[in-house]
């Protein structure tokens, strides 16, 4: 439907202060375009960068000014080229003026689509808004904003500003930030502009909706307070799960040279008599049967149509009750039930220009409740009751492991938290489109903060967690063998328990039930949890051969990763493994194993035109093992510190 086609201009701030979050901006934009390739392949996207060294836009030619604003991609239908270009955004060298960028973006949309296009036209700005806005020759900045806002309104554009403020510390000029916020706020007031402030990479990744759902009413009609008084209402979905995409079944029967093969699989049904399977019954000879105990009661659709419950359409008030009568966990899911009883709770708007509304939540019927009885905590034996000190340790944990500290934005706010599984799927899809055998990519550091506790928050609360460990002791029940089911529970894909920060020592000190119970003898390094496998093999004491086997295995793994990398997609993983190998080699006093391998790897990369891997290593500050780390090393500390691998290699050769 033409109406749903979206014209989107991305305005991306690439000025130096943004560099640290650009990897997340790249991932966000790639995901956005990747999903458009599937669900909105007629959408058009243009990309404008600002804070760039270069200047390239129509306005600078026509009227001058607008420096350091670069039209990176003209607005056009989404394609692979656009997607690839977003994977590596050029880093800018100048402070970015977002107001200039907005003007360029608005100008692009207006010039290209005028009034001829009535569908969605959107501008999305991602900036930290920390660079000063240049003064205008004509009028104040406010006048300028008013003029732009009027254009935005008259051409029916929508604007979404995402302001990233992760490092609000030190050198940030508060005055500039305040002035910029004021300008952004003015846009929100004067036009249909939404401004979101995000403080972390996770929120940034969740701030921009990557799929377009045109909101449609699911009901328009009356809310009947009584037969005498009705209120006209419109009902929308507020929360609806974005499901994991449904993939089609693939058939490989078509000959490989058949270019027009659809590879689709059709499903065919046959209905057979249970007693006599040779008898096939045509579909229209079937009749629906419903179970009632052991009996199956046949009912034709016509009979059912007459007999079934037919409620009157509409929303009717039953009455009011105190909000405390409805506990939160009774909220169900709205489904296709014919009739539901639910609660309306007020949603008071925080904005003057957005009206108040109600949220509707479905409540269970009597049939939906299972009234299981559970023992009262007070009836448990004394041993199970926490003592005063234990209670205190728990209190402190609940208070201190705080995701919504006062004065700071809430972390993991559902509105700003992306779905890690879907991100993983679309990333894998993209990898596979270039490289059909690409392995499932691990969650990146940003997304890992959704599935695992934030290392920074844990570090802050080290003492709190230590106290918890001291107060509570867990023991495996000696009478019970741990069920095999749990032993086999799989490890997550490519992610482990904080092995990047290598808090291994900590994890070993605590009397970990997990580690005790989950020691499965590892004999090989697998693809899922290579680091853990490596560590497990290294620590095996049943034969001295395991160490060398582990190192050999690991080297092969790293080598494979680097060799099979496409545009560096495996590099982070390879580095993770290298870090683990390095640590293992230091522990086992085998520095040469690591140093030689690293040199060999770099040499190989240089020969195979993979030298960007060496650069990547450099950026990760991965060095050879020095003498001070392992006495057997023949690399001195000086050589290690600043010498790059390339020079290092020369030295060796």
């Amino acid at each position: 439907m033409a109406r749903n086609r979206e014209k989107l201009i991305l305005l991306l701030d690439v000025s130096p202060s943004m560099h640290s979050v650009l990897p997340d901006v790249e991932k966000l934009c790639t995901l956005l375009v990747g999903k458009k390739l599937i669900y909105g392949n007629a959408d058009e996207v243009g990309v404008v960068l600002f804070g760039t060294e270069d200047t390239k836009n129509d306005l600078t030619k026509e009227v001058g000014g607008y420096e350091h604003v670069m039209v990176f991609q003209d607005s056009k239908v989404v394609d692979e080229h656009l997607l690839n270009s977003l994977k590596h955004l050029p880093r800018g060298t100048f402070p970015g003026d977002f107001l200039d960028a907005i003007v360029v973006g608005v100008d692009m949309l207006i010039k290209q689509y005028r009034e001829t296009y009535k569908g969605r036209k959107r501008i999305c700005l991602i900036t930290d808004a920390l660079c000063p806005i240049k003064d205008s020759d004509v009028g104040t900045k406010e006048d300028q904003v008013n003029t732009i806002a009027r254009q935005i309104v008259s051409f029916g554009l929508k604007m979404e500003n995402i302001v990233v403020r992760s490092n609000l510390s030190g050198e940030v000029n508060k005055q500039i930030a305040d002035e910029n916020d004021h300008i952004l706020n003015l846009f929100s007031k004067k036009s249909s502009t939404k401004t979101l402030y995000v403080d972390s990479p996770i929120s940034l990744r969740g701030a921009l909706k990557t799929r377009n759902i045109s909101p449609v009413t699911i009901f328009r009609g009356d809310l009947e307070l009584s037969p005498k008084m009705k209120i006209k209402i419109w009902v929308y979905k507020k929360t609806a799960e974005e499901k994991f995409p449904t993939l089609r079944k693939y058939s490989d029967k078509a000959p490989s040279n058949d270019k027009f093969a659809t590879h689709e699989v059709k499903v065919d049904y046959e209905y057979k008599n249970i007693e006599d399977p040779s008898k096939v019954v045509p579909p229209e000879q079937r009749i629906k049967g419903y179970r009632y105990g052991p009996q199956v009661v046949p009912i034709s659709s016509a009979e059912w149509e007459i007999a079934k419950f037919k409620p009157e359409k509409g929303v009717k008030l039953l009455g009011f009750t105190d909000a405390t009568n409805i506990l939160r966990h009774y909220y169900m899911k709205d489904g296709q039930q014919t009739v539901v009883v639910g609660v309306l709770t007020p949603n008071v708007s925080e904005y003057d220009n957005i009206p108040d509304s109600f949220y509707f939540n479905v409540l269970p019927f009597a049939e939906d409740i299972r009234e299981f009885q559970f023992p009262s905590f007070n009836n448990f034996p004394m041993l199970w009751q926490p003592n005063e000190k234990q209670q205190e340790a728990a209190d402190i944990l609940v208070k201190m492991l705080d995701l919504a500290p006062s004065g700071k934005p809430e972390t993991l706010l559902p509105e700003f938290t992306p779905n890690p599984v879907l991100e993983c799927f679309y990333r894998h899809l993209e990898l596979k489109s270039n490289h059909p055998d690409a392995a499932v990519p691990p969650l990146d550091e940003t997304l890992k903060k959704i599935t695992e506790p934030d290392p920074a928050l844990l570090a802050e609360n080290n003492s709190v967690i230590d106290a918890l460990h001291r107060q509570f002791e867990l023991k495996e029940n000696p009478k019970l063998k741990k069920s095999t089911r749990r032993l086999q529970q799989e490890k997550p894909c490519g992610s482990g328990e904080g092995y990047v920060d290598a808090d291994v020592a900590d994890a070993q000190v605590v009397n970990s039930i997990e580690s005790k119970s989950s020691v499965v003898k590892v004999e090989e390094i697998g693809d899922l949890t290579p680091v853990q496998d490596f560590e497990a093999m290294m620590s095996r004491r049943d034969s001295p051969d395991w160490v060398s086997k582990a190192m050999k295995n690991m080297k092969n793994k790293i080598f494979d990763l680097v060799e099979n990398s496409y545009e560096g997609d495996n590099y982070p993983k390879a580095v993770e493994l290298l870090v683990a190998l390095r640590k293992g080699c230091i522990l086992e006093q085998e520095p040469k194993e690591f140093d030689d391998f690293l040199c060999y790897l770099c040499k190989f990369c240089r020969e195979k035109n993979l030298s960007n891997f060496c650069e990547f290593l450099e950026s990760k500050e991965l060095s050879l093992i020095s003498k001070s780390e392992a006495i057997d090393s023949d690399v001195t500390d000086n050589e290690v510190g600043s010498i790059h691998f390339r020079t290092e290699l020369k030295l060796k050769e």
Partner: protein, 623 residues
């Protein structure tokens, strides 16, 4: 597993949803209800609401009747036997006196409940005296021991099935706390010993025996006299099962009903609080929508069930494909292939555990932060000793500090961010209303939340209610206050209707039963002068004097389009001879779009799959 095309066409994700909702119970339950029918059960009464007294026998029987009705809807695979003891007549396989197994035709003693069984049991009290009769079976001087016999009969019935795959229970209803009280000392010791041994034998076979004692108004049922030994209760547990004396009938019924359910654990999970500190939790589905049971297709000629066979056919070559394990997603003009294993690896972003991320104040949990019904979690020390202690400590802290926990639940099929809300125990006279524990609320992600409010953004300030209007609204709210509102007080009218129709058809009754829809507003109440006045005043303050009910149909764009489509469709349906197609069962050869033409031309709904569309057309033709 039964295949239903409608089911198969659902996407895989919904399958995991189904799993979530149905949590296919791995075990069957076999239950024998042992009901004491001694004269004491008939002579002791409880005050009921309407001043009429109800006997203990009636309470027990009506609780069972109610349970059977729930069971046939929810857990119809479970099997049940009802067995009276202390009866005049006897009917049981061992031919033991004082025990009568109730049953109906076409049903084993221990079997799934049938429509007829439920119906006859509903009338048991009318025929009880004539058919079965009450007579205390433990008499001084005789060796008869009806309780012993009852346990033996029950154990005999439960011989069916393996204890590994089935949950076997005996539920004993009685108001006699000292069954051998009237027997002389020596014989009493002997009888007690043999009866306890009988019970122990049953328990050794994996049968659990539960006592559902009925207290008398003035005298508490003393479990420790005899039954504590029989059911093997320790000191702490005793307190849990002793009912208080003088309960009201409704409370007693409530308590019995709740205790008759067996708790079913959905999953055992580890809750990782910090590295190296993970406790054991059990999850329970306390709230799940009950839906009409699945459809079984029958041959309309013979009414015999049909087996659906599915085959996969390659669209390119027409060859049969065996269990295709590769999926694909069109992307950038290519078909990107995924193996089923890769897809599940993608979903495995975390371990199958529940991992604590931190805490937030309860006010952060918004009303729309809710994707599906909640799951209840309760600690267990079965495998990890110390779990309960940490859980209780956190539970108390969270309640006191009014905070909830945010955690990541790495369920392999559906990993999700969840909120854990601590719920304090709430107890009323009828027993536990809310169990202590935590409720897991499934949180949405950013892309699951729609900013619909913003659709109605106005560049101007939107109107707000005046103080006066708010005052009127508050007056109205006070007037229409739902007294004693409890969340799940309404029966689902659609479901009730569904099963009422099934029951009538199953018993071949001619008349369809009427069910009352409890969900409709109380019109009488709304018409009360006080309420009517409050509504009138509120209406006046909001709409003013000139409010009139306008129900004129505004022609929306959508309805205009529909009209045009209908006219177009009418032109095209002439292409087919519909009557002919329908008679020869050839409608299925048409495309869905063609079927829709017919429906549109006749102003019928065009929703549903091909099956539904065809049915609708046939209905319309009166075939």
């Amino acid at each position: 597993m039964e295949l239903d095309p409608d089911d198969v066409f659902r996407d895989e994700d919904e399958d995991s949803d189904n799993e979530f909702y149905q949590e296919r119970e791995s075990t069957k339950e076999y239950a024998v209800y042992l009901v004491d029918a001694s004269p004491k059960m008939f002579s002791t009464t409880c005050p009921a609401e309407d001043q009429k007294n109800e006997t203990h026998f009636h309470i027990a029987v009506s609780c069972i009747a109610q349970l059977l009705k729930t069971q046939i809807i929810n857990r119809s695979y479970d099997e049940v036997a009802i067995c009276f003891f202390n009866t005049r007549e006897k009917k049981n396989l061992q031919d033991l006196s004082g025990v009568f197994v109730f049953n109906v035709a076409e049903r084993d003693y221990l079997d799934r409940p049938t429509a007829r069984f439920i119906k006859e049991f509903d009338r048991i009290e009318e025929s009880f005296e004539k058919e079965i009769g009450s007579q205390y079976g433990i008499v001084s001087g005789s060796r008869d021991n009806s309780l012993y016999n009852a346990l033996w009969v029950a154990q005999g019935l439960l011989r069916k099935g393996s204890a590994k795959t089935a949950d076997k229970r005996i539920l004993l209803f009685t108001n006699e706390d000292d069954p051998f009280g009237s027997v002389r000392a020596a014989a009493k010791t002997d009888m007690t010993r043999t009866t306890l041994q009988r019970a122990k034998d049953a328990q050794d076979l994996g049968i659990s025996i539960e006592l559902l004692p009925l207290s008398q108004p003035d005298e508490e049922f003393n479990v420790s006299l005899f039954y504590a030994d029989l059911i093997g209760l320790g000191g702490d547990e005793l307190a849990l099962c002793t009912p208080s004396a003088g309960q009201k009938l409704e409370d007693m019924k409530d308590q019995l009903r709740k205790r008759m359910f067996t708790k079913r654990i959905v999953r055992r999970i580890s809750f990782i609080i910090a590295n190296g500190l993970s406790i054991e939790l059990n999850t329970y589905a306390l709230i799940r929508p009950t839906v009409p049971g699945a459809i079984t297709w029958l041959d309309s000629v013979t009414n015999r069930p049909l087996k659906t066979e599915r085959s996969f056919i390659c669209a390119d070559t027409g060859a049969l494909v065996q269990n295709p394990a590769i999926r694909f997603q069109p992307y950038k003009g290519k078909s990107i292939k995924f193996s089923v294993n890769e897809l599940s690896e993608i979903k495995r972003v975390s371990t199958g555990h529940l991992r604590l991320l931190g805490f937030k104040p309860l006010s952060c949990l918004k009303d729309y932060h809710n994707l599906r019904p909640s799951t209840f979690v309760f600690p267990s020390d079965k495998e990890v000793i110390g779990s309960t202690c940490i859980f209780i400590a956190l539970h108390r802290s969270m309640l006191r500090l009014k905070r909830f926990a945010v955690a990541f639940y790495g369920n392999p099929s559906h990993p999700q961010l969840v909120a854990l809300i601590a719920q304090d125990e709430i107890v009323s006279a009828g027993g536990q209303v809310e169990p202590p524990g935590m409720h897991m609320i499934y949180l949405p992600y950013s892309d699951d939340i729609r900013p619909v409010e913003e659709l109605h953004t106005d560049t101007n300030v939107v109107p707000r209610a005046t103080d006066d209007q708010v005052k009127m609204a508050m007056a109205l709210m006070k007037r229409i206050d739902l007294k004693d509102f409890s969340v799940c007080q309404f029966a689902n009218p659609a479901l009730q209707r569904h099963y009422a129709v099934l029951q009538a058809l199953a018993l071949e009754e001619d008349e369809l039963p009427e069910i009352t829809d409890e969900t409709v507003p109380d019109e009488e109440g709304m018409a009360r002068p006080g309420v009517a006045k409050a509504i009138e005043e509120f209406k006046l303050s909001v709409y003013g004097d000139d409010y009139c009910e306008t129900s004129e149909k505004i022609v929306t764009e959508a309805s205009r389009k529909r009209k045009v489509a209908a006219v177009n469709a009418a032109k095209h349906i002439g292409n087919y001879n519909w009557e002919d197609l329908a008679d020869n069962g050839k409608l299925k050869n048409l495309k869905v779009t063609d079927l829709k033409l017919y429906l549109m031309a006749h102003g019928l709904s065009v929703t549903g799959n091909k099956e539904v569309l065809m049915d609708r057309i046939l209905n319309h033709m009166g075939k």
